[in-house]
Symmetry: C2
Subunit: 104 residues, 2 copies
Amino acid sequence: MDTVKSSVGCVKTATEIIGDKWTPQLLRFFMNEDTVRFCQLQNLVGGVNPRTLSARLVHLEEQDIITKTNSLNSRCDYQLTKKGRDLMPVLRSMQAWSDQYASK
Amino acid sequence: MDTVKSSVGCVKTATEIIGDKWTPQLLRFFMNEDTVRFCQLQNLVGGVNPRTLSARLVHLEEQDIITKTNSLNSRCDYQLTKKGRDLMPVLRSMQAWSDQYASK
DNA sequence: ACAAATACTATACATTGTCTAGCGGAAAAA
DNA sequence: TTTTTCCGCTAGACAATGTATAGTATTTGT
């Protein structure tokens, strides 16, 4: 058998974020908007159900990719941390590929 | 509030590949190896079950990201198409982020 | 007071992934 | 030649995950 040693460079950590359904589309909005709210994401990313969206935001918060701040009137703002902003090159490369090969 | 406006660039097409569990890890091997075989992927990407692996390879083939060629002795070689090679920048940016923020 | 919006949660159900086992063909070992 | 092993899968039962739809509490507008 081949002895492929792959000690350097694993993609696993990133897949644990990017690999979750909806998460890339969600993060994409943070590229353009500084702060984002729950229902904005709900409206703009067509068809996420709120349970899934909630789970994603919790996960992203746990992973220190976004922070949640309660605005005064029982509303919440989500925004990227540095770790989250550092993910943007991934999103941009996905965008570039999608633009090139979009099927529809 | 300057550069990219949201109308251009959606990530959806890429997420339909990258978003599948195991697929980024699988594609990563194609970065290093020219041709890859089923059981190589099975062994090297710890813990994919063959059913899932089979489904991923079928999907990647359908999306024209890899091609399957039957070698003489009833073995199969998989290798990247151009479309697949064009995905490598995505993988590399995921690697870079993972290297920076790997939790363990 | 009443309706609409926000940020969710709850229940039931559908889809997807996983564990384990096994199959048929080909080549290597006995 | 028979047996064993490796390869590239597939099959069935089950567990985890995502979805549709509804509902809740709070706030804001009229």
